[in-house]
């Protein structure tokens, strides 16, 4: 507000090129995985171009020939650590990243390839390759957090695009991301689905699985198979016992939990119990 008689002092106008906040440098890298979680970013067709305006994507080999070894303000890491080279690389990458986020079941729990952590690695290698001695891989497939400190994790096989957007948005505005940690059941009820477990006698991991997918399986007339991994304090033992009461054998119950998050302790516990 100008005071009468005094010309308003022109406010100093910052040079827009200097004043524009520096765009966060984002890297997207992968280890052992199917590329599906990083593809989730490219599948956000409505937001992708806006995201590339807000963020400087400096490393994303699947999408761009521009490369960077860091530093990164945000590094999204897909895939499990399953070779000696990857175990070294993640340590180097951690040093270059201010915020490191593991994305997806492989990066957060080792993926379905973590099944080999439970069994005989040689049996896996020999069953696929005629010359197993040419294959250089660790006997285990482990989550990123087993090797380095992780600042945030996005769960799911694949991750949810909505959750990825929430994470990126929260990083820009500097708040905690709002990521749900309730059971698939809670979301399923809100959607008004008939319970496939109660009404259909179908085995469903909904009670013990973290939501995030949108309760897709029961919405499409099948049981949840645990893509987003166990929610906090999941009582998997109780659910496994209930599957047993439905007439499922031990091996069958174990297989229900031996999928994309078999490396998560609450699921792994059931698989090991049945062996």
């Amino acid at each position: 507000m100008a005071v009468t008689g005094i010309a308003p002092h022109p406010r100093p106008q910052p040079n827009p090129r200097w004043a524009a906040p520096r765009r966060p440098r984002v890297g997207v890298v992968k280890f052992s995985s199917c590329d599906g979680c990083q593809l989730t970013l490219l599948d956000m067709e409505d937001e992708l171009l806006a995201i590339t305006e807000r963020f400087d994507i400096v490393e994303f080999a699947e999408a761009t020939s521009n490369r960077s070894h860091g530093p990164f303000d945000v590094l999204l890491v897909e895939g499990s650590v399953s070779t000696a080279d990857q175990a070294e690389e993640i340590v180097q990458l951690r040093r270059q990243a201010t915020t490191l986020v593991s994305i997806g079941a492989c990066a957060t729990s080792g993926g379905i390839q973590a099944l080999r952590n439970l069994g005989d690695d040689d049996a896996f290698r020999n069953s696929v390759y005629p010359r197993p001695e040419w294959i250089a891989a660790l006997p285990t497939s482990k989550p990123v957090s087993d090797y380095v400190a992780v600042d945030a994790e996005l769960y799911g096989c694949p991750i949810s695009g909505r959750q990825l957007l929430e994470l990126l948005t929260s990083l820009v505005v500097g708040r905690r991301p709002q990521l749900p940690d309730e059971a698939v059941c809670a979301e399923c009820k809100r959607l008004g689905n008939t319970c496939v477990r109660v009404a259909g006698g179908v085995s469903c991991l909904g009670p013990v699985t973290r939501t995030g997918c949108g309760a897709l399986c029961p919405s499409f007339d099948r049981g949840c198979y645990g893509c987003f991994g166990p929610r906090e304090a999941a009582n998997t033992v109780s659910l496994a016992n209930w599957f047993g009461e439905l007439g499922k054998g031990d091996a069958e119950v174990a297989r229900e939990f031996a999928k994309f998050n078999v490396g998560a302790p609450a699921f792994r516990k059931i698989v090991e119990r049945e062996r």
Binding site: K30, F31, S32, S33, C34, D35, G36, Q38, L39, T40, L42, D43, E45, D46, L48, L49, T52, I57, A61, E62, A63, T64, S65, N66, R67, H69, S82, T83, Q86, G111, I112, Q113, L115, R116, F124, R125, S127, V128, Y129, P130, R131, W134, I135, A136, S141, C157, P158, C213, L216, C217, S219, F220, D221, R222, Y225, C227, A251, R255, K259, F260
Partner: protein
């Protein structure tokens, strides 16, 4: 990261790209040149193995369908389709004709999203001189937005049938866990009409591109069906007379392991390399295209270039985009919801085998099912592992013609050649690391 060595007077030259970009997964290439001739071309694939063929042992067929999707985030539908058809064939399951149409519609969705991704986000930047579609969008925002909208329509189609575009979850032996009502499918009809126009515009866009000159006479292999453009049915055929049942891939082809790759390589039993994918499929099935796609191919006038020059695979994908969208529209217009989502079935022991046409080419699955209905053994032969030897042969043939170019341009054309196959290294097993060495040994 591109390291460009300064040309020197010595005979030894090294071209190096730390990792090939705009491909799925990671691999390497080593090319040795002696007296102007390539003496060795190795496409190294050191994507860490995940042992999928062992992960499915002891599982039920429906569990296999959930698990094999995880081989590839870009083409999960293909893995689910080869598996489900293999099991249905062994178990003698008659699927409802409407379910069969929905399976084709599902595949159309995956072809649309995968081809739109490759044409515009991965491949077009090569032709136009950009490092990625992000920079391309700065200069040609409308083109990229239009492409993304078409890609989204493909993903929506997959999600409409499979609940989500990546790792869909409704495919079951006998059909689907749930099938859509007609009005659900009609809701996507306007977006398909719009995407069909974009696909036609893509054909025009491709016509304006210039590809490096390279001609060879490849052996082409794909499925061929009596009346349809091949997706999940037909026979395995080649351009030189092969014609075998869809479940009999092992009669004509075999896989072998090479020390430089974590993916097994496939050849014919006579040791020949062969090419799969959009260019092969289109060349062998041009007479099965939807009339709108046939018209697009005719207007493009590049049928011979598509057959002989791998760089023109972008044109094959553009034509297949028109086909997939036109067919998706026809399927939806003729759709009547089936009485039941899945036919009942009973497992029986034996060998379950089938091939379908993934976006990148023929994908063969072979399972042995035991008396309990569980998997005893699995063999999964992805298109990229079959194309590996063909890629190496083409690099060998093409490399001499770029040795006179600058390091950067030669390296770029070699990278572009590999990208033109749309290799899915995650499928095959992960780093494409390009190294060209000239030796005088």
């Amino acid at each position: 990261m591109t390291h460009v060595a300064q040309p020197t007077e010595t005979v030894d030259r090294t071209f190096e790209v730390g990792m090939l970009t705009r491909v799925e997964g990671e691999g390497s290439l080593t090319l040795r040149v002696h007296d102007g001739k390539v003496v060795e071309a190795h496409l190294g694939i050191f994507e860490a193995p995940r042992y999928f063929e062992h992960l499915v042992v002891g599982r039920t067929p429906d569990e296999v369908i959930d698990i094999v999707a995880r081989i590839c985030g870009i083409c999960p539908v293909a893995y689910q389709m080869s598996a489900v058809h293999a099991f249905e064939s062994l178990f003698g399951v008659e699927i409802d004709p409407a379910v069969r149409s929905l399976r084709r519609l599902f595949y159309c969705g995956e072809w649309i999203e995968s081809h739109a991704l490759h044409v515009y986000l991965l491949h077009a930047p090569d032709f136009l001189g950009y490092p990625s579609a992000i920079e391309l969008a700065r200069d040609h925002r409308a083109v990229v937005e239009r492409a993304l909208t078409m890609k989204r329509t493909g993903n929506k189609l997959v999600a409409m049938l499979g609940a989500r575009p990546i790792h869909p979850l409704t495919v079951r032996v006998g059909g689907f866990s749930r099938v859509p009502a007609r009005n659900e499918l009609m809701a996507i009809r306007p977006a398909l009409d719009d995407a069909l126009e974009t696909a036609k515009a893509t054909v025009d866009f491709v016509r304006g591109l210039t590809a490096p000159v390279f001609e060879r006479e490849p052996k082409l292999v794909s499925l061929r069906h009596a009346s349809e453009y091949p997706m999940n049915d037909g026979r395995i055929v080649s351009n030189d007379g092969l014609n075998i049942p869809i479940d009999s891939w092992r009669e004509a082809f075999e896989e072998d392991q090479v020390s430089w790759s974590n993916a097994l390589q496939a050849r014919t039993k006579a040791g020949e390399v062969y090419l799969l994918g959009p260019s092969a499929r289109l060349t062998l099935n041009a007479d099965r295209l939807h009339p709108l796609a046939a018209e697009a191919l005719a207007s493009l006038g590049l049928a011979e270039e598509i057959r002989r020059n791998p760089y023109w695979s972008i044109a094959a994908r553009a034509v297949e985009l028109v086909h997939a969208l036109a067919e998706a529209i026809d399927i939806i217009d003729g759709y009547h919801q089936p009485d039941r989502a899945a036919a009942p079935w009973t497992a029986r022991p034996g060998a379950a085998a089938w091939a379908t046409e993934a976006p990148r080419g023929l994908l063969f699955h072979h399972y042995e099912v035991d008396a309990d209905g569980l998997i005893a053994h699995a063999q999964i032969v992805p298109p990229t592992s079959q194309n590996q030897a063909s890629i190496e042969a083409d690099l060998t043939a093409f490399a001499p013609s770029v040795l006179g170019l600058s390091q950067a341009e030669a390296t770029h054309q070699l990278e572009q050649l590999i990208r033109s196959y749309d290799p899915c290294i995650s499928c095959a097993t992960h780093f494409l690391d390009l190294r060209v060495e000239e030796t005088d040994e």
